[in-house]
Amino acid sequence: MFFFRSHGRMKAAYRGDETTGFQSPAQDHIEGVPDLAAFLDLRRPQRFAVRVKGDGLRQRGIHSGDILVVNTDGEPASGKVCVAFLHGDVVLAVLTEKDGVWWLEPSSQMPQPVSDDVEVWAMIAALVRTEV
């Protein structure tokens, strides 16, 4: 059941079901709003939400302030965007494969080969933007 604050008092909200005069024909069909956490599968243990800072990947449709939903078990593929730990920074980078070697291409730094001190943290799966 949902509640909201009104004139300083807690009240049960009307959900389209319980009416005072005519019985609501919808009362057995109330569904509520879609659950975005479920839709984005945020409870999956391999899913994390992160926040983008910076506009370096605008050409890939990723803006500063966006929330990215990422998979730590996502399959790496050439051309995909990932979250990486790079020399103490958390960065967004494009993964590419050239002649069997994997490279990370952050928007503001030189491409780096994926090695022990470069960790691919997760692959991007979805994007949430609240201001369009």
Partner: protein, 416 residues
Amino acid sequence: MFGLIDGNSFYVACERAFDPRLVGKPVIVLSNNDGCAIARSDEAKALGVKMGEVWHLSKRKPDFRSVIAKSSNYALYGDMSRRMFEVLTEEFSRVEPYSIDEMFVDLTAFARTDYCRRVRARVRREVKIPTCVGIGPTKTLAKLANKRAKREKSLGGVCDLSDETARHEAFRAMPISEVWGVGGASQTKLNALGVFTVEEFAAMPSSAVRKLMTVVGQRTHAELNGEPCMEMTLAPSEKQTVSVTRMFGRPVETWNDMREALAAHSARAAEKVRKHGLVATGVQVFIHTHPHSGEPWYHGQRAFGIEPTSNSFAIIRQVMAAGRAIWRPGLRYAKAGVILLDLKEVQDLPRDLLPTIDPVRSERLMSALDGLNARFGRGTVRPGGIRQITTWSTRASNVSPRYTTRISDLMEVRAD
């Protein structure tokens, strides 16, 4: 066969999962109130930081200048523990969350060392937590194997003590203090009998162990010899009491601050009781000054029965009355606690002829309160008299964001 999967320096690992600047550095996590070290990275252990090290006394030591001390962030650790558990349920038919960082799993004949290494790599990659795995025919042996896997890096994070010959080989070099459930008092008694290693302990006759360490020690002894006495437990045991006790961030000197602290503790305790669908039939309240500060020692305590309830307001009212009675002015209080006793299922209670609390209204109001706090974060809706930021609240000067549970706290990813 049992497996015990245990996060290495779990709290530190949770912090490092979202902060690469902590990787490879000496990092510790402090207890509630930034008191003492409760988790240490390998680098911090190498510098000589001890478990339980009182940090405000030790931090100025020259050796410890490079140590990064984080306040504990249990919202984060709890969620990471959940993730670890859920990944394990994808690999094993049964998983028992024994503590926040230790999970027992059911191992089949096929799932041994190599399999466990793969699971370990998976947990590391997907949940960002490095682990060690111990394997044994009993829980006690799995726990012992896990300790060995932690200590001997050459084992690649997995130690299998399922084979009896391998086991006896390993026992020879292990002091009895390594065994789960053998405490300081038992060690002294065993040492007096000339028993120092696990090998010597396992070879004792069962009756002698029982005489020395009661039936609990006998069980440990049997488990060490490969005879299972403890099964997988998939649901936590029925709770008898719920306690909320906290050290204060700084000494509490006014009744107003104490009142707020007790109200907050009561509300939190009542919430926990409701979560288990139980009601409390008794309450214990205590407040005390610092035992080692040289200031006057005072410990006030009350325990009494109440009308069965899980209603925050009813419990707060009772706790306030008791708190007022044990409050002595002019003292500097260090800690307060509220313990709800004799928890019962509602249907087990005798029907009260004249309840003073309307159960239906109370139930509705409390579920509204819990619902809002669950949706919008703890403390969104509070009984009157509990402020959000208070002088008594626990000190946490270097707490990390709640990366996985709050939209405002998500890990920032740079794209510049």
